[in-house]
Symmetry: C2
Subunit: 260 residues, 2 copies
């Protein structure tokens, strides 16, 4: 079982980042399918692939079908191509592998743990790829493929993948929400968000070599209740931010004392 010819289903953020990586690794993208034909075309020209918006036109004889669509469309799409010989994988953090089991022989999950956007395409080399497979043959084939584009490839069960995805929501999506609120607070007062850049960078850098649970700082961690009350009061006119400030400050203190 060797993966050479690949079909990509989808043309969103993940596909936009994954296609060039696979192409550079010498894989043959034989076809790109997307409901949005214009997007499929943009990607197809980058890798000399055919493209289509008709699912029945997707070739049946590829080695791998990568479903990179939104979570709620995975099952439906997979059932439309369940007569192919090759491996079918989805790429979602939060969907079980077994959503693919209906009538498909070889299947798995190929989940790159990263946030993707179309504008800033990123190198796959440093992105952990989390694999799951319905057989060891499929597993070996996916592992080889993943290793050709990333240095970090791990096998992870559906259950643990969901947990990893949840942890990523905290580490990435909620972190960006924090950046976003900081930006909003500064903009409302004609202060430049750029002033926070060094702090944001250092905060992320520090956990690359240390445990975040041992790196907590700030008024809540120091239990400076005077400062906390004043900061909470400053958010009086922004009740959603205030609620968040109060809750997260409380949580920092609670975690600090968990092991007392």
């Amino acid at each position: 079982m060797q993966i050479k010819d690949i079909v990509i289903i989808g043309s969103g953020n993940l596909a936009t980042n994954l296609v060039p990586a696979l192409y550079k690794a010498g894989k043959n993208i034989v076809c790109l399918y997307s409901r949005t034909i214009a997007n499929a075309k943009i990607l197809a020209v980058q890798c000399n692939a055919k493209y289509t918006d008709i699912i029945e036109e997707v070739p049946k004889n590829a080695d791998l079908y990568i479903i990179a669509v939104d979570d709620k469309s995975i099952k439906e799409i997979s059932e439309k191509i369940n007569d192919v010989k090759g491996i079918i994988v989805h790429t979602s953090g939060s969907i079980s592998m077994n959503v693919l089991s209906s009538g498909i022989k070889n299947f798995g999950v190929f989940y790159p743990l990263m946030t993707f956007s179309k504008l800033n395409t990123v190198s796959f080399h440093n992105i952990p790829i989390c694999l799951e497979a319905n057989s060891s043959r499929v597993n070996i084939a996916l592992y080889k493929l993943a290793k050709s584009i990333s240095k970090t490839v791990v096998e992870i069960s559906s259950e643990n993948r969901k947990l990893l995805h949840l942890a990523a929501v905290f580490a990435c999506n909620f972190t960006n929400l924090n950046y976003s609120i900081a930006e909003d607070l500064l903009e409302k007062n004609q202060l430049s968000f750029d002033l926070l850049m060094p702090l944001i960078r250092i905060t992320a850098d520090k956990v690359q070599n240390g445990k975040p649970s041992e790196l907590q700082t700030g008024p809540a961690f120091r239990e400076e209740f005077g400062v906390m009350n004043e900061q909470s009061d400053e958010l009086m006119d922004l009740p959603e931010y205030k609620e968040m400030y109060d809750l997260l400050s409380k949580l920092i203190i609670s975690i600090k004392h968990k092991n007392d």
Copy 2:
């Protein structure tokens, strides 16, 4: 008004990072005061300074006195040295400059916008220093000093400094809380926190060149209520995390629709 001879009051995280930066910039640290004499000594040997734990022994003729102690001790300390000729500054994000006004002639604020720890000392070159002064003469002297250690020096009022500090709590302290919760969720399930490192780094990198409010991703932003309910349920046994997950998800959606 020129600043050459400097007294440092305090030996905590900030002093530990600031002293070597000033010393390297050719400033003369004439004395280090700390209630904890051992800490003062550690810093003093790095810059050939005297050190003491007796406030009355602090020399009266220095050009600048930098108070780098916890917020609640600033006023008390400043009143003990209010008979000196030189400028007295505090270094806090959340305390008004005027806390120093009682009997002091030349005073201001010297607030480096960064999170400091004793273990990882950081270069001051990229750290924004926020200044406030009670006269333009003091302002010019502080500006020159700040510029000798950092490329970014800004004048900021007490009110705006407090706001900047509040924004920093979101961008740094709350962000680290998110990292910490992610770490905890993974450790509880024997998964390595290292898997999130590339994601954490990219999330911080992206806002260096883009607006976080335009970079939000994740289940809440995509309004995938099925995924959100499942993730919230996964936190059933961790009610504090669940409360935070629900609140922040709600907030992401609310911000998304703010400009509808």
